[in-house]
Amino acid sequence: MTVDFIYDLLNDLLPSYSGNELLLIIAMLLPFFALFGFITIYGFGVIYAELKVSSFIQDKTGPMGQGYGFHAGKWGFLQPVADGLHLFFKEDIIPSTADKPLFILAPFLIFIGMFVGIIAIPFGEAIIISDMNIGIFYILGIGSLAVIALILAGWSSNNKWALYGGMRSAAQIISYEIPAGLSLIVVILLASSLSMQEIISYQSGGMFNWIIFDNPFMPIAFIIFFISALAETNRTPFDLPESESELVAGFVTEYSGARYAFFFLSEYVNMFVISSVATTAFLGGWQSPFPNFLNTPSWSVFWMIGKAFFLVFIMIWIRWTVPRLRVDQLMHLCWKVFIPIGLFNIFGVSIWTVLRG
Amino acid sequence: MTDSQEKLIAELVNKGLDGDMDAVNACEDKMTRAKAKAMIVKVNKGTAERPPMPKATNASSDGSAPPAVVNLDTLSKDDMLAYLVNKGLDGDMDAVNACEDKMTRAKAKAMIVKVNKGTAERPPMPKAANASSNVTDSAAVKSTAIEQNKDINQKVRKMIEEKFPGSILDSIDSIQLSPDKWFEIASWLKSEESLIFDSLQCQMGIDLGEDTLESRYNLHSMKYDHYIEVRIAVSKSNPKIPSVEKIWRIADWFERETYDMFGIEYIGHRDLRRILLPDDWEGWPLRKDYQEQETYHGIMVPKVKEGWE
């Protein structure tokens, strides 16, 4: 659903305004609002899922309510709404010693980074806001914006814990982009394209054509990518930047209210973006697992979101199982385990491709 | 060990004990230096006797010892740490900073700070003979513990009387000591082969009224599983007792607590501050004549509850 497509559609629907620049603006705004709505709904959904999954794992019920009055709705459905309202109406505190402009800029920057990443994610054959020919590269690149935001947040807070968190996150995210990139290179090798749609079309024809089952090296590449994704989203066991038992809250120590909500939400949006990339690159994107089964365009949205949500669920599941790594172990894992294996993978896949012809 | 080396050590030990530690540190042979230092520590603790000063002191320390060449790469981490600490203490901080292993560097720095503060002993240079440590043998605990009487106050009283005449004050059940030689007695109690009181179970102060404060020590031997209680009384006007925190490290905090509550000053304690109360608290709360303050930092200390009287 590119902007051009909507623009053409509007031109056809409203012939009297044909060629008007207003239509172009509308065509640009429509996907924006659609995206914003999607993120909002997704945010509520995933926060609710996190609350409930963690609670069930920990033998408790999580948010519960009996009615719709001041309770959090049936089974606590409204809890994320309440949380969101609470955060947005909370007093917004900027420390007097903070670097004010940077302090204000950081949450916006991180949110923009996450938000803009979604536009290159395909939800169906034609349902993509911008089908770039370098889509996968674009997402990786724009994702790095988060690093700057996190460092800004850590530095401008003028707080030692925040500084620690910022430095940790910078080191962590930049390091883990390398194994993530290495495992995506393997995918690009196979699909011989950087475009998301072309990678997906390479995998058409059922589950066994997915890249993850393409050759014996691919599951390893997938696991490396998934774990690197965990590290890039600062999720446990890689939540060192905000490890609550060490650094109080890391780079968000001084943030409150709506600004904190931006950081909070962007973590979850980032989870979705990374999961979608993993789905696109390894799990057949919006394609049905079975050939000619529910493979219509409207179902394609379901498959895409379903697969991405499954990966998000695994992220939540891991979070509530394992302890946290230490800084040097984190780096050890990245540089001494993932990168050698990733390089070996590229080598292996190249030979495999050549041999297969 | 050669004759000349022994002489050199004796000379260095004597110099060190007379306060000239630079002479000791200037010795380049690390074996000799470490041995001399270990000896100095022992003499200070009282576990070894001071050697006589050798007569012929013309062998200069610089000439006799071969220059120390240490290849850092061949050392294990512990040895490297010890080496760096020694280097740093001798003023060669560049050697410490040049170390590439970050962890070792930080540890070495921490250690140097500690040694300078006195909370840690200077490690011997690598490959030097280690001073024997009194590690408890868990097998010994079981075998010797059961049969003998665990409370050996009377026996130890007699032993102290023989070893340090005049320090036992009166002849009631407990061991009442005068404060003068307490440090020597304590280090002897810890090192004496038949006693080995390696654990200070409890240290407390008590106000006995009539201008007397008492510091009580419950000592326990993990090796032989016996215990004694030592009491040292001082007057309230001049409450000074030698500190034993160098002998049992836990005495550090115990003595700080007793100082906090009773105002007993422990001479030789490296860091005698209040521990539980704020630094600016006035008075010694557990003395029987303590009067509560009227205000603290301008806040009234409530005497009567609101809505009560």
Partner: protein, 373 residues
């Protein structure tokens, strides 16, 4: 190659910090993330326990001992009454002894559960903490069944107990133990053998034997350093000599003897030993016997002093009681195990990374109420 050096930074961990287990302030000197010096400041929770005790009668001290180590109040009561009974030369009957041991060992399980759970929490694992708390609640239910209180019991009295155990207590305790034993395996499975936790705690903060003894460290921390020392075996008070149990000591399975992992694992093993003791004590408990039988009419101990030690979940708890023959203690000193355990933090914590320092602090299992008294 040039040397990169950072400026040293002074960082205050606490008094309000999630990992300090209460209100403790650790002033650490850091070079990057490497900690070179730790200075603990405590006293934020100082409630003048010893001064209070000089103003209340002997029986009124017991509620105050509860509040010193609020995670093992039964053991604190136990230590005090053992000391008082030694001082007054009271012999209590077997039923009282058995009930006391059941309570003290259940309390040990509860306290160790919390400690192991919180250790996981310090390392970032949230779930095992809640599982541990879930089982701890069951033990608190048993205590509530017995004496009406869930945390601060005032249950053991000098010369007896405040009241007998209720009908059905033995059965519900057996039921709890049957439920509980598989849960320990689960806890061990998710924590002790988890590779990440092992990496985070093995070889970290090694406390050698001689350091531990010199610093007066006792209890599980000392045993983790490889010293076979437990007052229940070495100097049996009450009737501990009648029961069969082992003293787990640190063996350095995953690293060096005396590291964080050993300190943590010794506690899990001790939970199992305590279960054994509870089972034996319940099975051999005499059916009759008045828990108020040897309750003194008035607690007025003879002139003299006593220092008595007991083994609490955190180590040797010593009460030094000086009596002048009046019903009010002349001087009462509590030698608390967590106080000595905390004093060793600079010795074993300096030189490690910031995350390790908090792991070491968690593995020492301190309770600030007891340190500050």
């Amino acid at each position: 190659m040039g040397v990169i050096r950072g400026e040293e930074m002074v960082l205050n961990i606490g008094p309000q910090h999630p990992a300090t287990h209460g209100v403790l302030r650790l002033q650490v000197r850091t070079d990057g993330e490497v900690v070179s010096q730790i200075t603990p400041y405590m006293g934020y929770l100082h409630r003048c326990f010893e001064k209070h005790c000089e103003n209340v009668t002997y029986e009124q001290v017991i509620p105050f001992t509860d509040r010193c180590d609020y995670l093992s109040s039964m053991s604190m009561n136990f230590g005090y009454v053992v000391a008082m009974e030694k001082l007054m030369n009271i012999k209590v009957n077997d039923r009282v002894e058995h009930i006391r041991i059941v309570m003290a060992e259940l309390q040990r399980i509860a306290s160790h559960l919390l400690c192991t759970g919180v250790f996981g929490l310090d390392l970032g694992a949230f779930t095992p903490f809640l599982w541990a708390l879930r089982d701890r609640e069951r033990i608190l239910d048993l205590f509530e069944l017995t004496c009406g209180a869930r945390l601060l019991y005032n249950y053991m009295w000098v010369g007896g107990l405040s009241h007998d155990i209720p009908v059905g207590f033995v059965e519900s305790t057996f039921e709890f133990l049957d439920y509980f034993e598989p849960k320990v395996d689960e806890l061990e499975n998710i924590l002790a053998h988890n590779k990440i936790l092992v990496e985070r705690s093995a070889d970290i903060g090694v406390m050698p034997k001689d350091v531990a003894i010199s610093y007066g460290v006792t209890g599980p921390n000392l045993r983790a350093s490889g010293v076979n020392w437990d007052l229940r075996k070495n100097d049996p008070y009450s009737i501990y000599d009648r029961f069969e149990f082992d003293i787990p000591i640190g063996q350095g399975i995953k690293g060096t003897v005396g590291d964080c992992w050993d300190r943590f694992y010794v506690r899990i093993l001790e939970i199992r030993e305590s279960v054994k003791i509870v089972r034996q004590a319940l099975a051999s408990m005499p059916k009759d016997g008045d828990v108020h039988q040897s309750l003194p009419k008035k607690i007025r101990p003879p002139k003299g002093a006593i220092y008595a030690r007991t083994e609490t979940p955190r180590g040797d708890l010593g009460y030094y009681i000086e009596s002048d023959g009046s019903p009010i203690p002349y001087r009462l000193k509590m030698r608390s195990p967590a106080f000595t355990a905390l004093s060793v933090i600079d010795e074993i914590g300096a030189g490690w990374l910031l995350s390790d320092v908090l792991a070491i602090l968690g593995s020492l299992d301190i309770v600030l109420g007891e340190i500050d008294r």
